[in-house]
Structures are given as structure tokens and as C-alpha cells.
Symmetry: D2
Subunit: 419 residues, 4 copies
């Protein structure tokens, strides 16, 4: 049979053609739960700094699925047996790996559901889909949860220091943000990947592509994901939601949020209690638009703080981020609070201690380009010898560069300087 | 003074660095009216076919402004005098040229306001901004409306067969859709542009870049803007809105639209009567999100047709487009209606004549790669001789390719074939 | 067996990775006859205008072979049976398709061997290789000479209006010359190619990629291959060789050419008499370097014309090309001759009629972007209907653009203008 | 005056347009001494591994000159005064910085002239040009030799850890070798460069672009410049020349080298004695072609070793490189010699100790991505505080990665393994 009729082809600026197998995969892509990812931006508020970084989790999911295909095809070329069911299961797991993300992803994770991690929601949604599709996702779920003991390397493609998710998002984000330095040589990495004793390893000739990948990841954190202005926009958005919840607890009625968002704001579900079907249903109705629509109307709220914060958001009047040399002292905290109160007072805004807290925040950024303990990347140095990347020849010094980087910072009004 | 401190720099995957002059231009960019363009996709529903075409009118507006700067700098190099005020005015006019677009742009233009053209709204918003900014946009408005007789070429940069708007969107759209064939050599076009007797002309050595530009435009229409599936998605969206208005006229209460969208649906303003301040205020609250949020909730409407159409939209169960060799006959129209009714009946959906009309549509697509009458592109063939492009040497036959292309089509349910 | 060990991988800026099958193909690539192509530039003297267009026929041959693999793999995906022997034969034929080119290719073809066409030399060399390799090229030669009646489409990949040679060189040349407008969407063309009734056709959805390909080819001729300065450099080089032969016929001894070049200059073999083994041996010793080395030393020749022409070549003091509106009149020819003689006289160079002829030349450039007669590109419009491209829907007017373009011109000294 | 007529524009795949100022700069570019660089490949024998790395020192020189213009323009934007004469002088110095390179550059440096460094030849040629051009290069020579005390930063652009030479060749080589990981974000580096207290510094926001630049340089050394096969090809070429000189010293007459090459082989000039006008004249006649032509004919030499080595070169039958864990022992050296002799004997080639030495070589590769002592890159951390890059925040560990890497290796026949 003509294999070319078994595929639907999409164009992609990152990978060229994306080949979608008809059947379960295409059905999933068209499913409203996956289509919902079109309405959640991959980089959250990143577009406020990088104006073209408007791409969605949907195009990332498609791209990752395409990379999964190329990876599996390459592994087959190298005589690793992968059955059609395993092939499909891996594609599904990759396609759905981020389906549990909610609006604005990491920024609001904790504001909507207490103690929330998107992975648990991903699994809940995958199971719901599996029921709807009569078990078609059984193997995908096994692979996703690392319970497919027969071929552990399939899970490694989905979740490890060198998983397909990272390869796609690093490349995609570096293109859309136009941060050239974060670019990754995916093609070479895939070409040098193989399975050795059941695990993913990289052939020796790919070692510099790996070095480059790790350093590109480091740079993307430093220049993009933890960009000062992105950090400050995140704080502004979180404080808007903190204020809303404060108002709700005080008995105020919400102005114009969507039904689904209202549900979460009023009910405050807790992740530790498990995810009920009701929570799941409502969650699947949520996307970035619920947040943006609400903010648009909350500008007109009676509450002066909420309306001021929302107006700031709409006109990009963000706070400033100042990195600190060390953990902030109590003295500094007090100084920031007092300065903030002074400015608020001048602007005739509420300026008591509690109100001021919506206008500054102390936090620290954390990034780790490569974690070699337990889940490191392995290099096949010789025919029968694999070593963890940081122990391979020529790379001994790279560990230094991959230490976690922790930077304390304060987000505050632009009217004053900290240093 | 150090000029580099007078700019803010943004990254852009299309143009590299975008340099934004501080002052009026940066103030405008951060203004909520311009920020609103972040929530309107440049290509409307195009992302349903080209998954990465999710870019907004905002990033296009920034890109066009950057191109305007490069163009004006080049013209100055060629001894065309452009005052700082004219420079700024042109940048403003380019930045704001599309600010009048509403949600989903062309797709819904007529559904929200009768007889609407986004240009009139653009002008109304520019005037409103001008009042807020104490006349800072006076010259920009003159240039935009072609009333700046002193330098007609400035208006040509904003609105002509070779304007900056087109250069940016063709390039941008071809990258994000990954339709390589639509790519345009902007750099060469800008390098060979100059002012001759007060008008924009292209130096002779740029003639093939122009040929390529016109043909790229043709290809973008054929392959992207008028793509079958995009046409069918447009029809689906318009029919959703037609149904909603039908329901409103029948006295039904709307389910969960945003206040601004509700205003337009219930009041049906007419453009021919001019744009009132109230209409303008509400319009400036509207963006794509209002539409997407409504559709999300209209899925649960009591009206079986509305909920069915919205569910289709959410799960990408689009109609099919079939191009016709000639204007459809009455016989064909009847055939399509009967087949539609049959399918609707089988699915227990309303299937009277009026109901069926939401499930098919006859229309025709129109494209014109280059219009040489009145507003053609001029080539400077010799030191003192400019000729219209289609009359220049080596291009005599190109007119053939630039005839308007009109293709009748029918959008219908996938359950049956037309041919 | 692990297929990845059966390949050697090269990097290529155009296609990414080039995968070379070990065995006959790799042996051929390392063969001195093929390695010789490293010393012949793909674009002849084009680098004098486009400084980075220094790529060789060798890298083009490798690139074309890679495209052949991708094409054959795609065709197999669409259920066209291609045996391993046919696959290898096609790759060989593509790899060697230009092996008969001599130094500076088209520029000097006729100066070295009378009535020469590189295709006959290609075949002679293929046969010589075939003898050395004990018949390993039998099938490749059949395919190359279109005598493999079983699968005519294999020959079409090698020689037709849409052959792999063109796809690689258009793309490669457009990148290295940085003539963006000549860029071709190879990937889409390959994706939409299939075999229908034994012949290569393009699926309907590829029709705009074909339009773009034909127009890109047209542009490359207009902007690159027939660039004014390239034409004038070609004339200069040919006139250097004409002068050398004049001197030889007059009995002068040659100053420092290489033995192989000397052989051709002194013996003037004629292609119509067939290619002797001696001619073949000497030809395989020739490459661009023989020409460049000779010119370097001929600068110091006693003959004032030869040394002047060679000095011009070394210092890029080229002639000027002026395009003419029509076939040159005798009057114009006389005028150019007289003006040339005047300048030569002023410079104390020989300026009799015969000498002057080395300083100007009348010629005409010819290009044809697409030839639809006999060997056109076919589009598969419907499941069972293929039409020639120019007759397909939406392209009816393209024939106009693909008329052969013939432009008379004169190459002359820069000291005077023609018009 | 119309500035655009003061430039000649070239296309470049790396930088887009290259703008060449008419006058001295253009005269220099067309000068035979500079045109000679067209016949010297930038990457020496690198094309044997990276087939498209065929670019010349000429296109690199042009590219570097273009970058110099962009850099100087940017510095001027930041209020650094640069006079027209300084501007031109810097461009000249950058354009000519590599003009002293001989055939095959570093590979043969010591084989042609004892104790040679191309920098001394560069200066000699610049002075010769300066005499021909009546002092037009005076300032350029001052800047090049760092004797222009007024503006030391101009010399830093020409020769430092972050000079324009490196920016162009890293980018250019990474593109032509298609080693993606070696790519450098030139645009951002230029944008963040400024003059501070008379020296070049990088603004703080450019720090990651610098990190990326240093690591890209490291990767290019590891993957490209010191590639195993390139190292082995270098040895083969050097041994060919060693053999030729051995033969000359033994009184053999050379077979067919060009006059210039013959001069160097027979006279063996010594750099320590200074460069005579005769040596200079002959040197300016030399390019890669002299070497390649000779090898082509030396294949047919009577000397069995020379002809064997040359045949290997022509058919890419290179030696193998094996990296060693430590400095080679005498035992290993003996083992390699004995194995080599055994193979030579089997092949009926001379196999005495002296002869065997042409078939293997012990050496070590050296690379240093960044040298921070004395000539480091400085970061402008605050308005009035510049620190050396390795001491700047967030980069403290990078020194580890920039330690010189020294790797001993042996080049030997492929018939046996070392380990």
C-alpha cells in the first residue's frame, strides 16, 4: 500500500514538514483537549519581551511528535527493534506530554490549584482520553509513566536530560525569540543517538553536539526564560491573582471572569486531594484566553489595587527586576516596602503594608543546565564502554558550567532604584 | 549624545534586531490600543492549516516599523531629504496602519459592523490617539491619508503595490507558514529603492527582485491565504456568527459572550452612519479572545445548530472546499442543499432549508498579485527614464501572470463529494 | 545488520547531511577522476562577480547524489519498486553526470576540443571507469543513456526539465551567490514527486512549487549565469586562448603551460573524430588549475597582446558588456572596432584589425527557463489524469514567461560607451 | 552627494550585502596581490573532510572588511569619534590582515621558508603596496602594527581575542562546513561592543554572546580545525614536501613544478634573514594551484615514495590519526615504525628506516579557545566598571573550559591499529 496516503503533512518553520500518521495520532491531534493547547502559549509571558514568541504548546507538541518519529526511525536504522505499537505509543506519549499545562503554565500553576504540578494533570487527562478511546493509549501511558520495563529507552526519549521535549522547545524558542546563541544542532544529536544495553546513548562523535546542547540550554535560561522583564511580568500576573483571591475571600463578587476560571478562583481545589472529575472538566475548559479576558475587564474593577495592576498589565507598565548579590536582608525588605508605600501614597493608591505587597516581591531564579546525577547523558566512548557525559574525555571541566545557578532578586516599582 | 541610548531593542526572527526609538514611538507601542494587537492573529484562522502561523498583528506592526526605518535610512543615503518629523510621522503611520483591525480581521469584518472596512476604524483610532497625545500624530495622519502633498512618496511607503506592510507580512507569513516559495528578498528591494521626481522607484538592477516579489505574492495567495481549508474555516466561523445573530433576532438570550462582543451582536452598528465614540470604545475592547471564549461556551448552547457548529470548530471538524470550474448552477446549489439536509437528518439535527444553510456556502476567491493601473511599481530604467514595471524590458509577459484570479467554490460537509 | 555502519556521512551547507553508501559509490567518490572535480569550479568565472561562488563540481555532484537518494526513498514510500541495483545505478549516474566537464566548463569547451560537448566526454569516462571496475557501472550507463527501457523515470531523474542536477545546482548556486530570488523549495518538490505510468509526475499540490522552480531558474539565468560581468570575463578568457592558439600556429613556443594543457593547445583534437585514449588520458589530467597557472605565467609572455590580456585577468580589469536592443549592425561593429583601435594605439599596443579583435566581441545570451515541448514537467491533476505543466489549471499564462530570452550584446573596453 | 554611488556592492552568503567603498579600498581589492587570495583556500585541506569548505581567503577578507564597517558604524553611533582616515585605515588593515598567507597556509608555512610566520610577510606586502600607492596605506600600517597610540581600540579590532578576523572566519567556516555548533551571533556582539577608556569592551547584556563565542571557537577547533582526517592530510602533504626536498638535496631534478615553487624548493630561504625583494616577488606568484599542479605531476615521478604519496593525495587514500592518552613512548614509536616497514615491504615499496618515516608521524594538536592573560575580553559591568570576561558574574567557571587542550596523536597507515 502507498504509505504516503497514510500521512497528513503540516508545514513547520522549525522542522520543515511534520508528518502525522492518520488514525489514533491524527484523531488525538484534532481532539478538543489537544486543540486547547493552541490557546496556551509555550513561553507564557515571554512574548512581552520577545514579541514574536507567540507560539503555542500545540505547535511545540506537533514538533516534538515529529522529532520522535525521526528519532525512532534512526534507531530502527541502527537495528533497534521497535514494534508498530511501541512506535505509536511513544508518539502519543510525546504528543501529550504537556497536555496537563494550564493557562500561563508555570506562572499560575499554584494560583489555580494548590500544590499543583502539571504532570499529574497530564496523566489524568491521558487516562480520560484513554477511556474515551477504548484503551488506545494503554501502551503510551505505560511508556509515559516508565512502567514499560521492556524498553526503558522509550521513556528516556520522553523524560530525561536529553529528551525530545527539550530538543524541540530549545530549538523552537531560540528561533522565535531570535536568540541565536540558544540554537541546538538537533540533526546531529539524532544522528548520533543509539540504544546500548537498553538505554539511550550518544555515539562518541556526537559529544560536541551534546556540549553545545547543554550550553545552549544554559544560555536560554540566562537570556530568555529567566529574563528580568519576564520575571517581573510573572510577579505582576501572580499578584493580580493573589488580589483577586483576597477579594473573593473578603466576599467581593468577581467582575466578569469566565465560568471555568470562576470555578477555580472560588473553589481553590487542592492537588494533594487528587483531581476530581469536576475539577478535570473545568480545567479542560481553561486556557490563556480566560486569563486575558478577565484582566481586560478587571481593569474596570472597583478595587483600586486590582484595577491598577490590570491596567499596568494591559499597557506593559511592568515592574523592574533587580538582581541581588546575596539573600535579601530584613533591612532591604523594609526599605523596599517603605519606598513602595511612599510611591503608592503619592499616587493616591492604598498604601498600607498589605496593599504594598502587591507592588514588590522577593524571589530567586534557579536554573540547572544539566543534571548528571541519576539521569545523566551517556556517551558511547568505545564499542563496549559508555560513560556519563561529564566524565567523558574533553569534557571534564564542563561540570563547573552546569552547576545550578541561583540568583536572588527583587521585583519593585520603577520609580526607585535598589542599589 | 550617545544615540544607542535613545533606542530600545527587540529581537525578531524575521529582521533580527528591531530598533524602537524612545519617545512617541515607544509610548505608542506600549499603549493599550497597540498592545491589543497582540491578541489578534495576523493570519486569522490560518493557523488551523499552518500550525505555527500564530503570530499577531502586533509583531507584524513592529516588523513593518523596523522596515520603515531601514527604508528611510536608505533613502537618506541616496540624498533624499527626510526631516526628523517626517521620519517619525512615517514610522507612526506604518506602526498603526492596521490598528483598526478587529477580531479575526477579514473573516468577521462584516459580521460585527455592517459595511465595515478596517481602514476607517484605523483612522478613527489614530485620531483618538492623536487627541490623547496632544497632536503628536498630526503629521502621521496627514501622511496616512495622503494629504502630505510635499512628499507623496511617504504615503507610497504605507499604501501602494510595493508598500512596507506587504514586504513585512509576505516575508513573515512565508516564514511562519514555512511556505518557502512565498519568500521575498526584502534586503535587495530596499537597497534598490529610491525617490525619483517625488515618487518611489526601483533602480533597474532591482527588477528581478520585483518580479520575484510579485510572483511570491501570487503564490502566497494561491497556497496560503486562499487555501481550501482556510476558506472552509472562514465559512464555519461566519456561519457561527450568522446563527448567533439569528438567535438574537429571534429573542434568545446569548450564552456567555463578553460584554464588548455582546454589544456588537446586539446593536449591529452600521459603518455608513459613522463610528460613534461608544462604538469605538467597545471596539477597542474586542480581540480574538472574545470570539474564542464565546465559541468555547456556545458549544453548550441549547441551540442544536449553534452548539454543533461550535463543537466542530473546537475539534477541527471543518467542512470541505471544492473548487468549481464555473459559476455554480441552480441545479448544483439544489443538489448541495439536498445532500446536506440528508446528512443533517441522519444526525438528528434540524434540516429544514434555513438550518441547512449553516452547513454549506457558495463563494468565490479572488486574488490579484499586482495591479499596474494607477498605482503600479516604477522602474528607473535609465538615469532619466522611469517605466511602469510591466512595461519594462524583460518583463513584458508578466502581466499575464498578474491577472486577477477568480475561483468559484463551494464549502460543504465532508460526508459527500461534489464532483 | 546495523545500516548506519554502511554509510559515510559528510556535512553539507545545502542539504545538511550527505549519506554516502560504502562500496562502489564511495570507491567512485575517492577515485581520482571524481576527485578531479574538486579542482573545477561549478560556476566557472562566476566567482569574479559573486565572490563566494567558489564551490566545485565535486560538492555539487555529492549534493546531487544525496538528492537522488532522497528522491528514490520517497518514490519507494509511494510504492514504486526500485531494486537495490537500480537504486545504486541511479546514484552512480547522478554522481557522474558532469564528470566530463573540463576546466572552466562551458567557457572553454570549444577552445580545447573542436565541436566538443561535455556529455560525450562524460560517457567516455564512465565507460573507462566501468572497465576499471569490472562492469560495476553497466546499469548506471544504461540509465544515463536512456537505454534502460524498463524504468524510463530513472533517466528522467538524471536528464529532464526537472532533473536532480538542476535542483541541486539552482539551490546551491543561489545560496553561494546569495541571490535569494533563485532559491528553490526542493523539499516540497521531492515530496510531491511520484511515478505515474512509468514517468515522473508531480502531484497537484506541488504545482506552485513547480511554478516557483521555473521562475527561480529564469531569475538565476537573468541575474547570475548571464550576468554582464560574467559574460565579459568569459570573453576575456576565450580571447586569451584564441591568442595562444594564434601564437602556436605562428610557430611561437608556449611559455610554461602544464603538459596536459600544452597537449590540447598543440594538437587541437576534434570531437567529431571520436575521443582517443590519448585524448582521454590527457583530458583527465586537466582542471581549472592548468588554466590559472598558465595565465599567471603568460602575463610575462613576450607577446604584448597575450601579456596584456592575462594581466587584465589577474587584476580583474575586465571589459564592459553592453546589451543591444537588436542584432548589431555592420556600422556598429565598425564603430566598436575603430574605438578599440584608438584606445589600443594610445596605450602603445598593437592595433591592427586582427589585434583589435581580442578586445571586443559581439555575441548573444540565450536562456530558456522551461521547455515544454517533448520533455515537459507533468502534473497529476486527478487520480488518473496527468497534464503538461503549462496546460494545468492556474498556470496557463506561464508559458509567456518561459519563452527563450535572447539578448544580443557587445563586450568592449571600458574606455568608451556604446550607447 | 549621493553616497550610494560611492560603493560597489557584492553579495555574500554570510553577511548579505558587502559594501565596498570606491577609491583605495576597491583599488586594493582588484590588485593582483589581493586577487591572489582567491587561489588560496581559507581552510587549507579542510575540504577533504568538509566537501563544501572550498571558500578562499579572498572571500573571508571581503567579509571581514564588511564587518569592520559595521563595527565602526556602530561605534560611531555610540559617540566614538572615528575620522574618515581612521575609518579607511582600519578597513585596509582588516582587508589585508591575511595577505601574507602562502599556499595551503599553516600546513606548508615551514616547508617553504624556514622559521616563517605569515605575519611578517603580511607586513612586507603591505609596505610594498604602500610604496606602489604612494603612502595611501601609512595609517593602515600604523594601526596594523599597533603604533597608532591615539586609538588603541582600532588595533584591537584587528588583533585580539575578539577581533573581526575571528568573527568572520568562525561564522564563515561554520556555515561552509555545516558545523552548526560553531555558529556565532555576530550581530549581537557588534551591537554590544563599545569603546571605554580607549579600549574595546562589551556591554553587560552581551556577556552570553561572548560566552557563546568562546565556546563556539572551542568547538570549531575540536570538530573542524583539528579534525583527525585534516590532521592526517596535513601530515601527508608535509611529507610530500619533505620528500621533494630530500630528493633535491640528493641532486635529483624536479619534475614539473612551477617556476615560483621551484624557486622556494631549491633556495630554501630563511625568514630570520629578512625577506628579500626577490623572495617577495616569487612569493607573490605562489598560491594553492602551484602545489596542486605539482602533486598532479609528481604522481609520475621516478621516485617510488614521492609518486606513492602523491597518488595517495590524489585519490584521498589518507593515513589514519589515532589520539594517544599520553606522550608517546619510545616503545610505541618503534612499534609504529616496524609495523609501517612491514606494510611497505609487502607493497614492494622502500622500507628502510628513513623511507618509513614518510608514512607516519607523531605530533600533538593544540587549541586554546580563549586566552585571558594580557589580551582578554572586557565586560562593561556597570557604567564605570569593566572586568575581564572570566572574572565577570555568571562566568566564573568558564575558565575551566578555556584551558588549552593538548592532544598527542600519531598518524599512520590504515593497515594497522595502534590501540
Amino acid at each position: 500500500m502507498d504509505k504516503s496516503t497514510q500521512y497528513k503533512i503540516f508545514n513547520d518553520p522549525i522542522h520543515g514538514f511534520i508528518t502525522v500518521p492518520k488514525g489514533v495520532i491524527l484523531d488525538l491531534i484534532d481532539h478538543p483537549y489537544v486543540q486547547r493547547l493552541r490557546r496556551i502559549k509555550q513561553m507564557g509571558l515571554g512574548y512581552l519581551v520577545f514579541p514574536a514568541a507567540e507560539h503555542s504548546r500545540f505547535s511545540h507538541a506537533l514538533g516534538a511528535m515529529e522529532l520522535a518519529q525521526r528519532t525512532l526511525n534512526n534507531l530502527r536504522e541502527k537495528d533497534t527493534t521497535i514494534s508498530p505499537a511501541e512506535y505509536e505509543g511513544t508518539l502519543i506519549a510525546v504528543l501529550l506530554h504537556d497536555i496537563g499545562h494550564g493557562p500561563l503554565s508555570h506562572t499560575l500553576e499554584f494560583n489555580l490549584i494548590d500544590d499543583f504540578h502539571h504532570e499529574m494533570m497530564t496523566l489524568a487527562i491521558m487516562r480520560k482520553l484513554n477511556r474515551q478511546m477504548n484503551g488506545a493509549l494503554d501502551l503510551a501511558i505505560q511508556i509515559f509513566t516508565n512502567q514499560y520495563a521492556k524498553k526503558p529507552f522509550l521513556n528516556q526519549l520522553i523524560s530525561s536530560q536529553l529528551d525530545i521535549d527539550r530538543l524541540d522547545y530549545l530549538k523552537r524558542d531560540s528561533v522565535f525569540t531570535s536568540v541565536y546563541e540558544g540554537s541546538v544542532g538537533i540533526e546531529r544529536i539524532l544522528k548520533t543517538m543509539r540504544v546500548y544495553k537498553g538505554n539511550i546513548v550518544i555515539e562518541k562523535k556526537g559529544i560536541y553536539a551534546i556540549e553545545n546542547y547543554i550550553l545552549a540550554r544554559r544560555l536560554m535560561y540566562m537570556q530568555v526564560y529567566l529574563h528580568k522583564t519576564v520575571l517581573s511580568a510573572d510577579i505582576l500576573l501572580r499578584n493580580i491573582f493573589k488580589r483577586v483571591q483576597e477579594l473573593i475571600q473578603a466576599g467581593a463578587s468577581l467582575y466578569q471572569p469566565s465560568p471555568a476560571l470562576k470555578f477555580f478562583l472560588e473553589n481553590q481545589p487542592e492537588a494533594t486531594k487528587g483531581i476530581s472529575q469536576q475539577v478535570l472538566e473545568q480545567y479542560l475548559q481553561l486556557d490563556d484566553n480566560d486569563v486575558y479576558q478577565s484582566i481586560k475587564y478587571w481593569q474596570h474593577s472597583d478595587d483600586p489595587i486590582l484595577s491598577d495592576l490590570c491596567r499596568r498589565f494591559q499597557s506593559r507598565s511592568l515592574f523592574r527586576t533587580t538582581f541581588l548579590d546575596s539573600t535579601p536582608t530584613e533591612k532591604l525588605k523594609k526599605k523596599v516596602r517603605l519606598k513602595t508605600q511612599k510611591v503608592l501614597k503619592e499616587r493616591s493608591l492604598p498604601h498600607d503594608d498589605a496593599s504594598a505587597q502587591y507592588y514588590y516581591s522577593f524571589d530567586e531564579s534557579y536554573s540547572e543546565a544539566y543534571r548528571y546525577e541519576n539521569e545523566g547523558i551517556w556517551i558511547l566512548e568505545e564499542k563496549d564502554k559508555a560513560v556519563e557525559f561529564s566524565k567523558a574525555a574533553d569534557t571534564q571541566n564542563i561540570i563547573a558550567l552546569t552547576q545550578p545557578v541561583v540568583k536572588p532578586y527583587v521585583v519593585h516599582m520603577k520609580s526607585f532604584d535598589i542599589k
